[in-house]
């Protein structure tokens, strides 16, 4: 009878593949990541190179997406912006999900003052108007090539709390399982129990959470950049490009159209994959059953 049962991974894959939107989303994300990585070789121009023959030119053979006011190639800029946005999104998602996992799991496992203190911090960070604070700090920083790192840290700092609360409540329910008690009575220490038994069992949430955090971080960076508080020039991101392009949308639409299409595609795909993962992990969801 055991042979007839599917391994958990196969089951996940089967359920995930059944969700066509998610599969398309995954393909788009992979394509975008590949394009971002090989970007510098896809364009004859560097993103910060200036073509003195072409200021604010519409798309042409030489510049497939046109040029900016300062004569930079839009195609090269979009590729670079995509790369930066992806890096920001991935790093922020990874960091904030990790923080959320650690804080949430430890708070729930140990309980007592640690839990109360963690919840206090979480609540405090939740009531602070994070957008304003990030805008102030990022806006007043000296700028330069590493300014995006500061942005990543700030986005992480204000991005982990809700996930941590979810991790905490999930840990509380996983903790009820007798295998946790069994591990304790085997002599396993608390941190090891968390790493070995609790986190793997809430991994599904963590993966979904990280996926959705990617799009959250990209959007947050975009809106900051739109108001001029994001990645500082000459470096650029999709948000910065959008912000610049939006100001001249009616007269020079190519400045806006490229980055906007890419970011919409990216966010939609990430969310589709996140939803697909959630359905695949959750056996009670609609995706399971008939098939």
């Amino acid at each position: 009878m055991a042979e007839a049962r599917l391994k958990p991974e196969h089951l996940l894959l089967k359920r995930f593949l059944r969700n066509k939107t998610a599969v398309v989303g995954l393909i788009i994300i992979v394509a975008l990541i590949v394009i971002a990585i090989i970007g510098p070789w896809l364009s004859p121009f560097s993103y910060d190179a200036v073509d003195r023959q072409a200021y604010l030119q519409p798309p042409s053979l030489q510049h497939p997406m046109g040029t900016t006011q300062s004569g930079r190639d839009m195609w090269a800029l979009t590729l670079h912006g995509l790369r930066k946005s992806l890096v920001i999104g991935l790093v922020v998602a990874l960091l904030s999900t990790s923080i959320a996992a650690i804080v949430g799991a430890f708070a729930a496992y140990y309980g007592g003052w640690l839990e109360r203190f963690s919840l206090w911090i979480i609540d405090l960070l939740l009531v602070i108007p994070s957008f304003l604070l990030i805008a102030l700090i990022a806006g007043n920083s000296s700028g330069g090539a590493s300014s995006w790192l500061l942005l990543v840290l700030l986005l992480t700092l204000f991005g982990w709390m809700l996930s941590a609360r979810v991790v905490r409540s999930l840990t509380q329910s996983v903790k009820q399982n007798e295998y946790i008690a069994a591990a304790r009575y085997m002599g396993l220490s608390g941190p090891k129990i968390i790493v070995r038994h609790i986190l793997p069992n809430i991994a599904s949430l963590l993966i979904i959470d990280a996926t959705l955090n990617v799009s959250g971080a990209i959007l947050a960076e975009t809106s900051l950049a739109y108001f001029g508080f994001g990645v500082q020039p000459p470096d650029t991101s999709l948000g910065t490009l959008l912000g610049d392009g939006a100001r001249q949308l009616s007269s020079f639409p190519w400045l806006f159209a490229g980055p906007a299409t890419i970011i919409v595609l990216l966010i939609l795909s990430v969310n589709a994959v996140g939803d697909g993962l959630r359905d695949a992990f959750d056996p009670g969801s609609k995706a399971s059953g008939k098939g």
Binding site: M1, A4, R5, K7, Y179, Y185, M186, G187, P200, G289
Partner: protein, 737 residues
């Protein structure tokens, strides 16, 4: 108790309509679509239910019994597809839409579910829910419905129904809620009541009460009862006819007496034989049915039971035997060898001979534990109390009370001995085991493990060294195995903590799996790929990994199917002999404790009320609570069940936060009512100590140690403590019969 007026004439007609068929199920097939394919859960089930009868549908989990019930109610999940015919009063239910079925549900067919905790909406009062179920089908006034609800609550034995009707479900205990659910099922005088494992979630004393209520309900409404259960004792107690289901098919059907006494299907015989009972208490082994039920994803070609059947031959494998009428009037069985069984009048003992208790694999795999004198105490608990404070408020937490979870108990376990700890849920059994395992000093008293007082454990190393001698096997094997780990990782985990090297771990894991009867093909499997019995074997292997001396078994088989239980119990017995283990066996199943334990301690509201050798306690129970427990215990023998005189404790277990003063049991004691007022006064005021359960003369005759009789003094306490094997009982009137 007054009857519902409308019912009276119908009761009189009971005999007349006995023969009419209410519910007729023909060739019912239920399939569930899931990831792995189509699961054929019910495969061609046909039966009919007559007015006024109680029909039991018996089977293990996955046998399709609940799927059958859900199909009748029309409550199957969307992924199920149903074929065949279900007729109620000749009206076809298969294919009827939900609105049409809603008119029948509650009105003609009512259902009592297994879990009373989740079968009521928490935000409405019990009365509102009961009135709702009345008014759904009747257009009476609210006050009529309310009067009816009070009547119904009275009928199912809820005290003070006028007040209790305004209570919310959380204010009721599990047993009370199940009574309310039965009242709801009765509300519209249904023709058929389907009870799906109605007492499985309840304690044995409450189970006895609920079965009585269920019988009253059926008599009052003259409804036919379809009882779905895995408990053969319950079947023997309540049913007129029984059907045994295996792998989605009915394999035997007949009157209860025929099925229990003249079965000719090896599966039924094996089930009955695998139960521990007074008859096989002395022998070491239960006759277990080997193996597991087949998966219904790929329907078997031959007899579904052939892989586990001792009578199997080539005819069994060719085609699945169909249900054949064996004897008149109504005994059907699906076995190719029914003639042989009947001709030679084979019994389960002929078919499932328990293997002799050889020192088989177990003894070869491991040397005996070195430490071994019989008189060495592995555990000694003296006057242990474990109290939990009750707090209220979130900002300014204030103490509002105390839960007296464990309130002064003494327990001793010697090397190589099994102590059974018995009691209802909420009596403090689990707190006792946890306070041993925590290795923390209790609120009061001392716990000594292997001669070390746990309050002297000051370093991590000392604690860890003690930890490995003490392991636990939990009740629910699936929840005690991490679903993300393979069997190898699971069993190896404790070894990793104590720094074994990789080769030693690998060798030891193989050895352990062999010890618990699994081969190394299981190493790479995950918990979901194991059956319940296999999971519990892995749990046992894991617990044995560090060569413990004391194993705490917390209801180790109660989550398993009947046919699997015997195998695990045999394994535990075998391991105890070959490894010299000591067990603390916590259970609510008294028959099982009798089978496996050497001594038994009965616990009630945090105290031990009776303790002694298994023979003494079971043969001559002295404490009224023990007597109640034993009398409530269902026995899988219809004749015995029908002729038993029951002594059932009154009401429900009081809260351990406010235990009654004096003797904790006096609020429920059936003996108390037979005492004089002065004698009763003593019960209410003074808490009894454990005293010899037999008169002194009789003890002297039997050459037993004699103690100072109940004075509550320190001297008698000390004496009792010294000889733990004596039969003692905490009742002021031990000698009064």
């Amino acid at each position: 108790m007054h009857l519902i007026p409308a019912l009276k004439p119908r009761v009189k007609d009971k005999l007349r309509i006995m023969a009419t068929t209410l519910l007729d199920v023909q060739n019912l097939n239920v399939r569930y679509a899931n990831e792995a394919g189509s699961l054929h859960a019910v495969r061609g089930v046909s039966f009919s239910l007559h007015a006024g009868e109680a029909l039991a549908l018996v089977g293990e989990s996955g046998s399709g019994k609940s799927a059958t019930a859900m199909a009748i109610m029309g409550l199957q999940p969307d992924s199920a597809s149903i074929e065949g015919s279900i007729r109620l009063h000749g009206e076809q239910l298969v294919g009827a839409d939900d609105d049409a079925l809603s008119l029948l549900r509650g009105k003609s067919i009512a259902m009592v579910f297994q879990d009373p905790l989740s079968a009521m909406t928490p935000v409405y009062t019990v009365g509102e829910q009961l009135i709702e179920s009345i008014q759904v089908h009747e257009n009476g006034s609210l006050s009529d419905a309310k009067n009816r609800a009070v009547e119904l609550l009275d009928l199912v034995g809820i005290p003070e129904p006028h007040q209790r009707i305004n209570a919310y479900p959380h204010e009721f205990s599990g047993g009370m809620r199940q009574r309310v659910l039965i009242a709801m099922a009765m509300a519209n005088n249904p023709d058929v009541i389907i009870a799906d494992e109605p007492t499985t979630a309840l304690d044995v004393t409450i189970q006895a009460q609920i079965l009585d209520v269920l019988q009253i309900a059926c008599e009052q409404t003259n409804a036919a009862l379809l009882l779905i259960t895995h408990d053969l004792g319950v079947v023997a107690r309540i049913a007129d006819r029984a059907m045994v289901m295996y792998a989605g098919k009915i394999v035997e059907q007949g009157s209860v007496n025929t099925v229990f006494y003249d079965s000719c299907m090896p599966y039924t015989m094996g089930l009955l034989g695998s139960l521990p009972h007074a008859g096989n208490a002395g022998t070491n082994k239960l006759s277990a049915i080997e193996g597991n039920p087949p998966s219904l994803l790929t329907p078997p070609t031959g007899c579904a039971f052939s892989t586990r059947c001792p009578l199997v031959d080539s005819t069994c494998l060719q085609q699945e035997p169909s249900l054949i009428k064996i004897t008149e009037p109504d005994h059907w069985s699906a076995c190719a060898h029914h003639q042989i069984i009947r001709r030679d009048s084979l019994t389960h003992a002929d078919l499932f001979q328990p293997k002799p208790a050889t020192e088989s694999t177990a003894a070869k795999a491991l040397p005996l534990n070195p430490s071994g004198s019989k008189n060495e105490k592995v555990l000694e608990m003296l006057a242990v109390k474990k109290h939990y404070p009750l707090f209220k408020g979130s900002v300014f937490r204030r103490r509002v009370g105390t839960v007296y979870a464990v309130d002064g108990i003494d327990l001793t376990i010697y090397q190589g001995e099994t102590l059974g700890l018995v009691g209802e849920s909420g009596c403090g059994k689990s707190t006792t085991t946890l306070s041993i395992l925590d290795l923390e000093p209790p609120t009061h008293g001392t716990i000594e493990l292997f001669g070390n007082d746990v309050s002297t454990l000051d370093s991590k190393q000392k604690r860890l060294a003690l930890r490995r001698k003490l392991q636990i096997v939990f009740q629910d094997p699936t929840s005690s195995l991490d679903p993300r780990m393979s069997v190898f990782d699971l069993v190896a985990e404790p070894l990793g903590i104590f720094d074994y090297n990789p080769e030693a771990i690998s060798a030891r894991v193989n050895e352990l799996l062999m010890l618990v009867g699994l081969d190394d093909s299981y190493l790479a499997r995950f918990a979901q790929q194991l059956s319940g019995g296999q999971s519990q074997r892995v749990c046992i292997a894991r617990a044995l990994a560090l060569e413990p001396q004391l194993l705490i078994l917390d209801e180790p088989v109660s989550a398993l199917d009947v046919s699997i239980r015997a195998g695990i119990v045999n394994l535990l017995q075998e391991l105890k002999l070959s490894l010299g283990l000591s067990y603390l066996f916590v259970a609510h199943d008294l028959a099982l404790v009798r089978h496996i334990a050497d001594r038994v301690a009965v616990m009630y509201l945090g105290r031990i009320v009776e303790t002694g050798s298994v023979e003494a306690v079971y043969e001559n129970p002295a404490h009224p609570y023990t007597q109640c427990l034993l009398s409530a215990m269902p026995i899988a023998d219809p004749e015995v069940e029908r002729n038993r005189v029951r002594q059932i404790p009154l009401g429900e277990l009081p809260s351990p936060a406010s235990p009654p003063k004096g003797c904790h049991f006096h609020t429920r004691c059936p003996k108390k009512s037979r005492l004089s007022a002065d004698q009763q006064q003593l019960c209410v005021e003074v808490s009894p100590d454990l005293n010899p359960a037999m008169p002194i003369q009789k003890m002297q005759e039997q050459d037993m140690p004699v103690y100072d009789n109940h004075s509550g003094s320190e001297a008698s306490y000390q004496n009792t403590k010294e000889s733990t094997s004596a039969h003692t009982s905490a009742c002021h009137y031990n000698y009064l019969v």
